[in-house]
Structure formats: structure tokens, C-alpha cells
């Protein structure tokens, strides 16, 4: 909570690393990223997570081409059957192929995860850097607001937002992103607070750089590590919340399906057909686990001082 968990490897080592696979970073020094990438590669769980995620995302993107059936094709006389050779994960009561439905569901789940994270990233970075840069009273006030918001039952507000503005996907992104920025704001604010008094920032300031330029060009790039790590950890949180809302019937609406709504349908029909809850649940669990592995690996690799609340 307060600092890195003791006992996690600090990394290091001088194993060779391939050129060209380092995230190149323009003018602000590739070497810390170089190091971080080497540390990440030594973390087997993180690489496993990354591989699983790449496969899943690729499958989601390519689903129109690799899905064995059209996603809304029903086959009522066939009905719900356990996995067979044609329907590898079985079918639901309408005879729809579960594997196909999961592939298409993955598109929605990942899209929500990524886009809502971007929304939360934007709000969190803007809010946090304003508070950190302004300092003093404004900072104090803004952080008090964050403290207070932390204590509130936020999903309840998301539910209200979904009811009011309609249950469509766009509202889902915004509503989820709008409640997920608190920790990001705290992290960014802390980073900005400590970076803005460093010599290189002061010298840029002395040369007459405007506050916006200072933040965007000098301060934020140096805070990128923690931001990337926390954004990675936000994705599973948001995906979980999407699934949660869809489970309650407040998220993705039929005929579209996300993993959450598939799990919801599966839970309703699990008594005679247990595979309908097992496979969507498994897909969600494996994805969340992989994202958590990757996030933890990135945190250890970039080793920022993160106070994570989740």
C-alpha cells in the first residue's frame, strides 16, 4: 500500500536486449524505458499475461473472420447442448454458438476497458496536474474533494447515470471513466508536486516556458511510468465494472453481448446448462488475471512509488 511490496525482484541484470523493441521516446531519454523493458522481460508471469492478452485482443479484433458462426445465428431445434466438435464451447438455449458469442463479447469488453480507461486517464491527469502544479490552497481543496469522493458509493452514481442517459455503449464509457479517475489524479498530483521543483523544470521555467508547456513537455513525460502502470491496472477494474453493470442488465443491451451480459444469461440458465456460466466466467477471470499480472510486472519494472487503493 505504502510502497513496493518487499520481496519483489528489483530487476537489474545485464541480459542483452534486442534493439528496436524498446518503446522509443523521442527526446526524453530512452534508457530508463530500456531498463524497465529488460526487467519486464525477466518477469515470467507478466510476459505470460501479456501473451494471453495479445491472443485475446487479436481474437476479438479478428472475430468476424475466425468465428465459426454468425454471432446472432439461432438454431432453436438444436437448443442448448454441451460442448461438441462443431460447437467447441456448447450452445445456449437459442442454439447460438457460445464460442462465437464469446469472441464478439470480447470486442465489447475490451473496447469498454480501453476507452473508459482513456476517459479516466484524461480526467485524472488533467485534475492531478492542475492540483499538483497550482499547489497551496487550490491543491488542498482539490485533494480534499478527491478524499471525499473516495468514500462514496460510486457505482450507485454510475447506475443512476446509466438509467438517466440511456443504456448505450457510449454512456457506459463515459460513466465508468468518470468515476475511475480518483487514484490517477492522486498519483499524477504527487508526481507533479515532486517534479515541479526539480532543477530541469526550474531552468525551463527560467527560460520562460509557459505553465502548460512546462507540464506537457517537462513534467508529465517524467511521470509517465506511474501513469502507464496505473492505467494498466485501471483496465481490469473498468472491465469488471462493465461486466457488473451488464450483469445487472444496466450495461450492454441485447442483441449485443459482452462477457458480463453472457455471464448474466449464463447464471440465469446455469441450473441445467452449467457451461453457459463457466466459459464466460473463465474468459473474464483469465483476462483479469493476465491484466493484473501485467500491471504488477510493469509496476515492478518501472518501480514507481504508487499508492494504489484497489
Amino acid at each position: 500500500m505504502k510502497s513496493r511490496e518487499p520481496g519483489t525482484p528489483l530487476g537489474g541484470g545485464v541480459a542483452g536486449c534486442r534493439e528496436g523493441r524498446i518503446p522509443h521516446s523521442g527526446g526524453w531519454g530512452a534508457s530508463p524505458w530500456h531498463d524497465a523493458f529488460r526487467r519486464l522481460r525477466r518477469n515470467r508471469l507478466a510476459i505470460l499475461g501479456l501473451t494471453v492478452l495479445l491472443v485475446f485482443v487479436l481474437a476479438a479484433v479478428l472475430s468476424p473472420w475466425i468465428a465459426p458462426f454468425p454471432f446472432d445465428k439461432t438454431n432453436l431445434p438444436y437448443g442448448a447442448k454441451p460442448p461438441t466438435r462443431t460447437h467447441v464451447l456448447g450452445t445456449d438455449e437459442l442454439g447460438r454458438d457460445l464460442f462465437t458469442r464469446l469472441l464478439y463479447g470480447a470486442r465489447i469488453s475490451f473496447a469498454v476497458g480501453i476507452l473508459a480507461t482513456l476517459v479516466s486517464l484524461t480526467i485524472g491527469v488533467a485534475y492531478g496536474s492542475l492540483a499538483g502544479y497550482a499547489g497551496g490552497r487550490l491543491d488542498h481543496l482539490m485533494m480534499r474533494i478527491v478524499d471525499i469522493l473516495y468514500g462514496l458509493p460510486f457505482m450507485f452514481f454510475v447506475i443512476i447515470l446509466m438509467v438517466i442517459f440511456g443504456r448505450n455503449i457510449l454512456n457506459l464509457f463515459v460513466a465508468l471513466g468518470a468515476v475511475q479517475w480518483l487514484t490517477m489524479a492522486r498519483i499524477v498530483r504527487g508526481q507533479v508536486l515532486s517534479l515541479k521543483v526539480r532543477e530541469f523544470v526550474l531552468s525551463a521555467q527560467a527560460m520562460g516556458a509557459s505553465p502548460v508547456r512546462l507540464l506537457v513537455r517537462h513534467v508529465l513525460p517524467n511521470a509517465l511510468g506511474p501513469i502507464v502502470v496505473y492505467a494498466t491496472l485501471t483496465v481490469p477494474a473498468v472491465m469488471l465494472e462493465e461486466a457488473f453493470l451488464s450483469f445487472l442488465g444496466l450495461g450492454v443491451q441485447p442483441p449485443m453481448a459482452s462477457w458480463g451480459s453472457l455471464a448474466s444469461e449464463g447464471a440465469a440458465a446455469m441450473e441445467p446448462y452449467p457451461w453457459l456460466i463457466l466459459f464466460p466466467g473463465l474468459a473474464l477471470t483469465v483476462t483479469l488475471l493476465s491484466l493484473n499480472f501485467l500491471g504488477d510486472g510493469l509496476r515492478d519494472a518501472l518501480d514507481p512509488q504508487i499508492t494504489s487503493r484497489r
Binding site: L152, L240, I277
Partner: protein, 305 residues
């Protein structure tokens, strides 16, 4: 200390004011009222209904009326259950939700605490790896997946526990585990980290050097320091448990506030939704204050000013 509590309580007022105002206007912005769902009502009936709930007044009038009612602790009548007030409905649901929440928290602290202490004491042992894998798995299984699966195994398959409902203590077991597992996993990680931090310190060595039994050293000397991060986590955790209970109450057909909340949000029962949000916000603000005081009590280095 007293003045600290006083100031914190005074700080609640603007927060509550904001919450009430925000939720009030959000709900009123919603297109479609609570009475639109039924077949078209005769003009006169409709007007009468609107007059009864003061919906015919201008918005700011309704707002001021609502504020003054909330200030007196009256959350108004429910739109959907005309013979019940929101206070009555919350009064019915809250004991159920509270029981579920407390049991889930107890599961989380007992399971997670024990696992975390064992893992922290035997770092890099088999126990450590097992509990930490369990912890990682635990935070990755969503409760709406875990719930049905537990139900499938223990209620439908083995028949040890009832499937759903809320009558005997046996009905509480599955929902509490469903709700508590995620937090157990998190508590385990926090306790382990806290334990690792504390166990290497001088006062632990001194305690051991005095010849105290290992159990006493761990439970009386190390534990209070090690669970500090867990105490900090209690505030957010309780907020999340309340939220999570929405899903768990739905899965296991438990008549708590969460289920009312979802139903009333879908039915546009304005007063019920508003009342739930206000009620839970007050509850959580108060709970966070208790957590802060508990923290100061456990860690003498923290000065409550």
C-alpha cells in the same frame, strides 16, 4: 479528540448538501417520469398524483422541499410503493444488507488475515506461494461469476446449503463468501506486506529475546503494526462491499437495499434512488470517520488534531 470529531462531523454537511443536490438534479434531468410506464392515465388522475408528490410545483420548489425534508431525516414517499415511505423500505432492507456486509467483511478479515500472516511469516515458502496465488486468483474472479458457481457446487450439486433466500444462518454462508472472497484476497496481500515490514524490526527481536513464545510475539507485538494498511483499506472496502452486495443480493434473492436500489433505478422511483444514495453516503462518511479514529488508536504515531 472531541474537537476533531466535531470538525469532521461539521465537514459532512457541505458534502451531504452536494450529494443531495447532485443526485436530485440528476434524477430530475432524466427523461420519463415514474408514472409514464403505466397505460395513459386520465388527465385528472394524473394531476392528482402529481399534486400528491408535489411534481406540479416548479423544480426549485421541489428541490427546497426535498432539502428541508432530508434535513429532518424524512426521505419522502416511495413512488412505486405508494403506501410505503422510503424510510420504511430502507428500514426493512438495511438490517439485511448490514448483516450480509458484516459477515462478508468478517470472512475477508478472517480468511485474508490468517493467510497474510502465514505468508508473511514464511516468506517464499510453499504456503506463501499458495496463498499469494489464491490472492491473485481471488481478485480476478468477479463475484457475479463466483456466486453462481458456488451455488452450483454447494447448493445444487452437494445440497449442503440452501440455494437462495434469507431465512436461517445457512442462507448467509454462500453470499458472505461470494462477497468476501475478493476482499479476503486483498486483505491477504496487505497483511503479508505489513507483516514483512514489521517482522524485521528491532522491537520484534527484543520480544523474541525476552523469550516470549512465537505466538505471543506474532499476535501481540507484530500484528497491530502489520494490520495498519488493512485498517486504511476498511473505508474503501466497506464502500465496495455495499456496492458488491447489489449483485450478490440479486443472485441470491436477498431482500436487502441493493436489490431495492436496482429495481427502483429501473423503475425510475426517484425518491427511493435518491434516498438510498443519501442514506449510504451518510453511512459511509460516518464509517470512514470511525476508521480514522480506529487508525489513530492503533498507531500512536498518528496524531488526531
Amino acid at each position: 479528540m472531541l474537537s476533531y470529531i466535531g470538525r469532521r462531523l461539521a465537514g459532512f454537511l457541505p458534502v451531504l448538501f452536494l450529494i443531495v443536490s447532485l443526485s436530485f438534479f440528476l434524477m430530475r434531468l432524466a427523461p420519463g417520469g415514474p408514472f409514464d410506464l403505466e397505460r395513459a392515465l386520465p388527465e385528472q388522475v394524473r394531476a392528482n398524483i402529481e399534486a400528491r408528490y408535489h411534481l406540479d410545483e416548479p423544480l426549485w420548489g421541489q428541490y427546497l422541499r426535498y432539502l428541508s425534508e432530508v434535513a429532518r431525516g424524512d426521505l419522502g414517499p416511495s413512488f412505486r410503493y405508494p403506501d410505503r415511505s422510503v424510510n420504511e423500505l430502507l428500514g426493512l432492507g438495511f438490517p439485511v444488507s448490514l448483516t450480509l456486509g458484516v459477515c462478508a467483511l468478517a470472512v475477508a478479515l478472517a480468511l485474508g488475515g490468517t493467510a497474510g500472516i502465514l505468508a508473511g511469516l514464511r516468506r517464499n515458502s510453499l504456503i506463501d506461494y499458495l496463498t499469494m496465488s489464491f490472492a491473485l486468483g481471488g481478485v480476478s474472479v468477479p463475484n457475479f461469476v463466483l456466486g453462481p458457481i458456488l451455488m452450483l457446487i454447494f447448493a445444487l450439486g452437494l445440497g449442503w446449503l440452501p440455494v437462495a433466500g434469507w431465512e436461517t444462518w445457512r442462507h448467509i454462508v454462500l453470499p458472505s463468501f461470494t462477497l468476501g472472497t475478493f476482499y479476503a484476497a486483498y486483505v491477504a496481500r496487505l497483511t503479508r506486506a505489513g507483516m514483512l515490514e514489521v517482522i524485521g524490526q528491532d522491537f520484534i527481536r527484543t520480544a523474541r529475546a525476552k523469550g516470549l513464545r512465537e505466538g505471543v510475539v506474532v499476535l501481540r507485538h507484530a500484528l497491530p503494526g502489520a494490520i495498519l494498511p488493512v485498517v486504511t483499506y476498511l473505508g474503501p472496502a466497506s464502500a465496495a462491499i455495499l456496492t458488491g452486495s447489489v449483485v450478490v443480493e440479486t443472485i441470491f434473492s436477498i431482500p436487502g437495499i441493493g436489490r431495492y436500489f436496482v429495481a427502483s433505478a429501473l423503475n425510475r422511483d426517484y425518491t427511493m434512488v435518491l434516498g438510498t444514495v443519501v442514506f449510504y453516503s451518510v453511512f459511509l462518511l460516518a464509517f470512514n470517520l470511525v476508521v480514522d479514529i480506529l487508525y489513530a488508536y492503533l498507531d500512536p504515531r498518528v496524531q488526531v488534531r
